[in-house]
Symmetry: C2
Subunit: 409 residues, 2 copies
């Protein structure tokens, strides 16, 4: 008997039929003798509809209120799932983020989980219940509802799996697992059987939409195995786990990630003296704007240009912070561009093996794609390019590195 | 400076524009220097839509889950109201039933309020916030969400007014106050300026939909003045309060109530011995089926017939309880009729004044309406009639007792 935490995304619970389908998968798992905790997202387009409602009230809805509003989406789907299970004879109970003990900080709309207090879940499991937890939501020290931001339900699932010391956390979604590239762009992209946390983290951070990077990170810190699989087929999926055991078999390149939600901000003519970067990036961090690639060009004389990328959704907020700061520090001007994309190659095998960057740059050049910015980690190389070039870029990189992908299992 | 609790019903918050309209009424009240707590219902048809969603999952949705599901309707409207207020520069915060301290028992779908612990509301008021409370919802001793059943938001409002020792509880709705009859049936029905709790209780219990009887009862127990008025006009409304001061001016008849949500159950051939009524009505009470008029016909020999009314919505549940019980106690058969209505005349002036019942029965007879059952209280006479006759009955009774209504203020 195992303790399993499963998560089903919005498209897997988008209708009554889909919820019933998920309920029958869940109950099968329970009938096999496991304790099952299920984390659900809001049904299909519910979150969009709630956002639309809020925008009818005001252009800038208050974030505390927005969190309470959006959390109702997951509450609704959790109760419907519990009803479906009970009506098929399986004892079940839905719990809110508060009841499930998902403690967070007070950063509304992007709260971080600070702890999990799962005693209510354990009580319900010991009474034989399947426990359905509303994903994406938690509660702050002042007992207010918070939401976890992008990938919130994935994070709820992994955090609960860790807090409950579950045997595995299973993320069910509309893809069959982790592929070597987005199959809508590369039709012959291959599914990986396993992938290391680090590689998955780079893939997720750099645009592979399979699951949220922060959830993978949480899994990595606590060595929680995470299975990513399809909610509509029985295909085996991809297991994200520690791959140290198979160090020698590490793939050179695991996959190609891309992300079209990229905007660039350039501050031109920044006086080049110590502390200037802090002046710019501290206010952004305080406003919870996540800054990605940062490039400081070599200065001509006493001034320099600083360029960085943010998600497009954060661009307006970021500019509203950067513009006054840039005046204050005596920079010449601020410009921005929101027609950019990121494309990345990821693989632990690139570590200590020269030549991957050169190979990537050549492949992009051969496809006629101009590189605007470059950023790298030990196991990743990312190029910022124009959004027009992203499909060609992913295809040519997938072709270039194809022989280096793992063979299908 | 006063402390005011206001309640706005579903039709008053049915759209973004209506919510903005209510927000501007609320903020005007705050700007006049009052502390304001606002209780909101779910927007328009939201509750119906949530019920429809649940029925897509199962014919008999679990009541605990149903409560969590339905409570999201009020949560949504409370956040939208808070957003509207904040965007117009009025500090506001939405609170759930749990946060507002609405403690209830564990009777899901029909929970009773057991206490109010309003410290969070008081904190928010002292910080200058307008406090928006999601109506209809509370929490049980096991910290589960409960809903208060019919008239739940009215009850939330009065309970909070009592718990906060507010100066007045204002119920805003789609009518201008308490009228002498339903204006859709009697176009020249008049608005009352004031009405006593007892009369209002009889009117509300016997079908006047202005506000929930249980909320009036709560107001009466704690002598909380309740204003019922329109959310769309500035007309003064009707004040429900203690009328002892004006005892001499008591109206003879205050109004005509009617209710078409009536079903009748008759248990035929019940052995007539002590304890038999308990055997029938105890299981109904345990299942929270509210039984209205009970009539036990004079027995012929050792058997008797027992007839009682329930709301039509409870008929299936009631029959499922009564049928096995009637077999058990050796009754001959059970029959039911769900095509009935109630019509009542209510007025404190009828006390100790003979002739009102006779006058009522004659008016109904003149209109060709047959009376199936009769029940009375000190200040009310109710006849159960066929639903076909209800419009004629209300009109002829309004005409008959017109001269006895209070003159317009």
């Amino acid at each position: 008997m195992a303790l399993v935490v499963q998560k089903y995304g919005g498209s897997s619970v988008a209708s009554a039929d889909k919820i019933r389908n998920v309920a029958s998968r869940v109950s099968r798992r329970k009938d096999e003798g496991n304790d099952v905790v299920v984390v659900v997202s809001a049904m299909g387009k519910t979150t969009d509809e709630l956002i639309r409602l809020a925008r009818q009230m005001t252009d800038q809805p208050d974030e505390r209120e927005m969190d309470v509003l959006l959390s109702t989406g997951e509450t609704v789907s959790s109760t419907l799932m519990a009803m479906a299970l009970k009506s098929s004879g399986h004892p079940a109970v839905s719990l809110s983020g508060l009841q499930a003990g998902i403690q967070t900080d007070s950063t509304h709309s992007k709260a971080r989980i600070t702890g999990v207090e799962p005693s209510r879940i354990q009580d319900e499991l010991s009474r034989g219940n399947i426990v359905i937890v509303a994903g994406f939501q938690g509660f702050s020290p002042s007992m207010d509802t918070t939401t976890l931001g992008r990938g919130g339900s994935d994070t709820t699932a992994v955090a609960l799996a860790v807090g409950l010391e579950a045997d595995v956390c299973e993320i069910y979604t509309d893809v069959e697992g982790v592929l070597t590239a987005d199959p809508r762009i590369v039709p012959d992209a291959r599914k990986l059987t396993t992938i290391g946390y680090e590689e998955m983290l780079e893939l997720a951070s750099y645009g592979a939409k399979v699951m949220a990077a922060r959830a993978v990170e949480l899994g990595q810190v606590h060595s929680m195995p995470i299975l990513v699989a399809s909610s509509s087929t029985e295909a085996p999926g991809t297991l994200i786990c520690n791959e140290e055991a198979s160090m020698e078999l590490r793939r050179k390149v695991s996959g190609i990630a891309h992300d079209t939600n990229v905007a660039k901000i350039t501050i031109v003519g920044v006086p080049d003296h110590p502390g200037i970067a802090k002046d710019i990036f501290e206010p952004l961090a305080r406003a919870a704007v996540s800054v990605d690639t940062i490039v400081q060009n070599v200065g001509q004389g006493a001034v320099t240009d600083i360029t960085f990328t943010v998600s497009r959704t954060d661009l307006v907020k970021a500019l509203s912070i950067v513009e006054p700061v840039s005046k204050q520090i005596g920079a010449r001007s601020v410009s921005s561009d929101e027609t950019l994309s990121k494309v990345s190659i990821v693989g632990t095998g690139m570590q200590n093996t020269p030549g991957y960057a050169a190979k990537m740059f050549r492949a992009l050049a051969d496809a006629g794609i101009n590189i605007e910015l470059i950023s790298t980690s030990e196991i990743r190389i990312t190029c910022i390019i124009s959004e027009d070039g992203v499909v060609d870029a992913v295809r040519s990189l997938h072709k270039e590195f194809e022989v280096e992908f793992e063979q299908p299992a």
